[in-house]
């Protein structure tokens, strides 16, 4: 080929740039041709590529670009028109394809991007699933562990554990000292001590199985009491204790091979274990029937439990199941105990009813006796008093000495008889506690003087002196039973005179000091102090015959004479001092004798509790009449009371009366209102009994019923204008605490309230 000579060498120096361009273009072309090849190669290799069309287009675009650049190589030098045309065509094509590609990419790229997001999402999902998988796997691991453990536990609940648990439960339920289980050895010729409750014995003791006691137990399904010294029961170190009762029972043992399924086996191969139960030593406990039954039931249950275990597959007995059996056994025993206790309670109730009946009958008998005694007393008293009176009169007449002697004897005997009759009545009432002291205010000083005046004549005849010493701190008036106190004093003083032949007696009365109240002879005499009571101490000392120390305790016993008295002035009856003692006790006091011995005289000392009266302040109003003695001061302010009267005038007056005394009064006009309104706050209810329309007795009964169950019910007092005795009887019958006659004066109401508050009943209201 001939080159045009007009061309210079293709590599002129300033055309270095051209050279580089030339090389670059060449490489570009190369790249452009090789990229599609590579893409095609790899796409062909991968199975999935959805955009083949795009690839083709892209490939075309690249190829054409490459072609363009390649053709460019020829344009550096002089080139023919053909080359120019080819170049132009290539460029045009390239332009078209690249534009098309560009347009196409607009659609493709978002898709590609979304593919990317989905890919990301799927990756996350995969990670999550991985995690969950991990969790599940660990759970499954744990589950497997639990199953393994349960399996292990269940597998250990075999017969031994059952037996052991049973021993424990039994020991606890029955409070046993020791509970032991002897299991037969493999040979069957010996019993081995397998379990004990307290682990105090070396496990491993054996006894031969042919012992008579063991045979006895094995031959019956019942629990058998055995001797504590038998070899199977010698479980405790002997010697120190009084052993408690021992019971033994057989426990059938069943092997898997021993039975058919669904069939309670006959106990043909009789293999038994021996359960020995000991009650605590040194206790008085004995085996009760229900306890023995429990033991038998439990032994039976153990056998059954084993059988059930076999049915379910020996190793699978759950702890609940066997506990359930034991609980059933215990429940059975408890049911038995409960039944027993219910029977006992019924028995007790019956006994109570019987006792109540007996008590009521006794009360009736006592009342009957008292009535009888009262009547007899009265009946016998009348002729006696007549005799006394007439004999006294006779004494005043002209009599010969013999006649006088006879009359005196008659008089003395009659007096004695009269006193005896009274004493018997008093004593019987004292003994059954139906005697009540009649408390009132009286003059203490004059009481002493009167007693002494009574005995002064007798003392004068015997030429004995009588001295009275009243302590200056002794108050003049006291509150107590004047008559009974006088009786006591008279008796004591009379005795003193009786047993004194020469010398005399001295009576001293004082207020007892707290430390002197404690008599060493009466350690259970605990006098209490309060503001409105004091203890009167009276000492009667005589220079008489004295009493032997040994006889002193007998002195106060009834019907016992301390020494044989043959003297004619010994009209002593044995009841006197006994009655005195009873009265003194009723007055919350104490009486005793001190004597230094025969011939040395004696001193009788008694202490009684008396009340202190207080003056009532009545400055405001003119007093209509002076009350008897001093009146006891009470504070009524705020005392809540209820007044029922259907007469408005009467109601207002009674209310005004109580308000004036300071009470807080609720006035009602009907029985229903009254019963409704009465409450614990009220201390007294005043019912007008002369109402026609309302039955106050019924109201009283209803009020009592309302407060029947609890103590502290208000006092119920009847107000009546009727002096009929029947009213009083009826009031007493319905259980009212007192009756007052209308119209009621201020003083009367005041004393009524004081009586109620102090004594709880009305002291002879009239």
């Amino acid at each position: 080929m001939e080159y045009c000579n007009c061309f210079e060498s293709p590599w002129p120096a300033d055309e270095l740039l051209m050279k580089y361009q030339y090389v670059s273009d060449f490489f570009i072309a190369l790249a452009y041709f090789s990229i599609p090849l590579e893409i095609i190669y790899f796409v062909k290799k991968s199975a999935v590529f959805p955009y083949r069309w795009v690839l083709v287009q892209f490939g075309a675009f690249i190829v054409l670009c490459g072609a363009t650049h390649l053709i460019n190589l020829w344009t550096f030098t002089m080139h023919t028109r053909t080359v120019a045309v080819v170049m132009t065509t290539a460029k045009v094509l390239t332009a078209v394809v690249s534009c098309a590609t560009a347009l196409l990419l607009v659609h493709i790229i978002p898709d590609l991007l979304s593919v990317k997001t989905r890919e990301l999402f799927l990756k996350n999902k995969a990670a999550e699933l991985d995690r969950e998988m991990g969790l599940i796997r660990t759970q499954e691991e744990t589950g497997r562990h639990v199953r393994m453990l349960t399996h292990e536990i269940r597998s250990t609940l075999d017969r031994h554990t059952i037996l052991k648990t049973t021993l424990l439960e039994l020991g606890r339920t029955l409070g046993l000292e020791e509970c032991a289980l002897w299991m037969p050895t493999r040979t069957g010729l010996e019993l081995n001590l397998s379990y004990t409750l307290r682990h105090q014995n070396p496990v491993g003791l054996t006894v031969p199985i042919q012992l008579p006691v063991i045979n006895q137990v094995f031959n019956t399904s019942r629990a058998v009491k055995i001797s504590p010294i038998s070899p199977v029961a010698r479980l405790r170190p002997a010697g120190q204790y009084m052993p408690g009762e021992v019971v033994a029972v057989r426990v059938p043992l069943l092997h898997l091979s021993n039975f058919q399924i669904h069939d309670w086996p006959e106990l043909s191969t009789k293999r038994y274990a021996l359960m020995v139960l000991m009650l605590p030593s040194d206790s008085a406990r004995q085996w009760h029937v229900h306890e023995l039954e429990l033991v038998e039931v439990v032994a039976d249950q153990i056998a059954k439990v084993q059988w059930y275990a076999s049915l379910l597959g020996a190793q699978n007995l759950s702890s609940l199941l066997d506990l359930g059996f034991i609980l059933v056994a215990v429940a059975l025993s408890h049911a038995a105990i409960l039944e027993e206790s219910m029977r006992a309670r019924d028995l007790l109730m019956e006994q109570n009813v019987a006792l109540d009946l007996a008590r009521r009958e006794a009360e009736m008998a006592v009342r009957a006796r008292n009535d009888f005694l009262a009547v007899m007393n009265h009946e016998m008293g009348t002729p006696i008093h007549a005799t006394i009176a007439l004999s006294s009169l006779l004494q005043e007449t002209e009599l010969s000495p013999e006649q006088r002697l006879m009359v005196e004897t008659i008089l003395k005997s009659s007096n004695l008889l009269a006193t005896l009759i009274n004493d018997v009545l008093d004593l019987s009432r004292l003994e059954d506690g139906s005697l009540q002291l009649e408390i009132e205010t009286f003059n203490l000083h004059s009481l002493f003087r009167e007693v002494l005046n009574l005995i002064k004549p007798i003392a004068a005849v015997k030429k004995l002196y009588v001295m009275l010493n009243l302590s200056p701190d002794l108050i003049e008036h006291a509150v107590g039973d004047e008559k009974r106190l006088m009786q006591v004093l008279l008796n004591v003083v009379g005795n003193a005179i009786k047993f004194t032949k020469e010398g005399g007696i001295s009576v001293s009365a004082s207020v007892a000091k707290p430390d002197s109240l404690r008599d060493p002879r009466a350690p259970d005499f605990f006098p209490t102090h309060s503001d409105n009571h004091f203890y009167l101490r009276v000492e009667v000392k005589d220079t008489g015959s004295g009493i032997n120390q040994l006889e002193i305790p007998k002195v106060f016993m009834k019907f016992v004479q301390s020494q044989p008295l043959a003297a004619k002035n010994s009209g002593g009856r044995g009841l006197g001092l006994a009655i005195c003692k009873r009265f003194v006790n009723l007055m919350e006091g104490h009486i005793w004798i001190e004597s230094e011995g025969l011939g040395r005289g004696s001193t009788v000392i008694f202490i009684v509790k008396l009340g202190i009266p207080a003056h009532l302040n009545e400055s405001k109003l003119p007093v209509l009449h002076k009350g008897p003695g001093n009146q006891v001061k009470f504070i009524f302010s705020g005392l809540k009371v209820v007044v029922m009267d259907d007469n408005s005038v009467g109601r207002t007056v009674t209310k005004g009366l109580l308000v004036h005394l300071g009470c807080d009064v609720l006035a009602v006009s009907s029985g229903d209102e009254c019963v409704r309104a009465v409450s614990y706050e009220h201390k007294a209810v005043f019912l007008d009994v002369s109402m026609a329309a309302v039955d106050s007795f019924e109201v009283a009964v209803r009020i009592r019923e309302k407060f029947a169950k609890r103590s502290g019910r208000p006092f119920i007092v009847a107000l009546t204008g009727n002096t009929d005795r029947m009213i009083k009887e009826n009031c007493r019958k319905v259980g009212m605490d007192g009756v007052i006659l209308k119209p009621v004066s201020v003083d009367k109401m005041r004393s009524v309230l004081s009586d109620l508050l102090e004594h709880g009943y009305l002291v002879e209201s009239q």
Partner: protein, 153 residues
């Protein structure tokens, strides 16, 4: 102060006459005792109550005794009430009249009852008059600046 002294003397004389003639008895004195600073009009209140109550009872009695068939039990019940209230006040003559009335009721003596009713009416209005006079005197004394004398038995 002379007026006060005069009024007081008048009061005392009048009261004494009332007690003397048996219109009032000790119960009325008791009522006086119940009157104090916390209850200054007690007597007046009770007496007014008595007046109302009595007039009602007297009407009831009149009606009951005018029936065709007289229910003596009912009549007795009324008289019983009247007796109760009059004795609470201390109206002695009224009370005594009630006692007599009750006897006639028990005997079912209609004539006796009617006569008693008449007398009861009479006694009641008498004592009412007297009490009203007494209260008037008391008021006058107080208005004049004096204190009412307290009668003691």
């Amino acid at each position: 102060m002379e007026i006060v002294g005069q009024l007081q003397k008048q009061f005392v004389d009048f009261s004494t006459s009332l007690y003397g003639e048996g219109f009032l008895d000790e119960q009325y004195l008791q009522l006086q005792k119940l009157q104090d600073e916390s209850n200054p009009d007690f007597v007046c209140e009770v007496v007014s109550l008595f007046f109302d109550d009595s007039e009602k009872l007297l009407n009831n009695l009149a009606t009951a005794l005018q029936q065709q068939v007289v229910d003596f039990k009912q009549v007795d019940a009324h008289v019983h009430q009247f007796k109760g209230s009059s004795s609470s006040i201390g109206a002695q003559r009224v009370k005594n009249m009630c006692v007599a009335f009750r006897n006639f009721c028990e005997e079912k003596n209609l004539d006796g009852c009617l006569r008693c009713l008449q007398q009861l009416n009479h006694e009641y209005f008498l004592v009412k008059n007297k009490l009203e006079t007494l209260f008037r005197l008391e008021r006058q004394i107080v208005e004049a600046g004096g204190t009412v004398p307290v009668i003691v038995a």
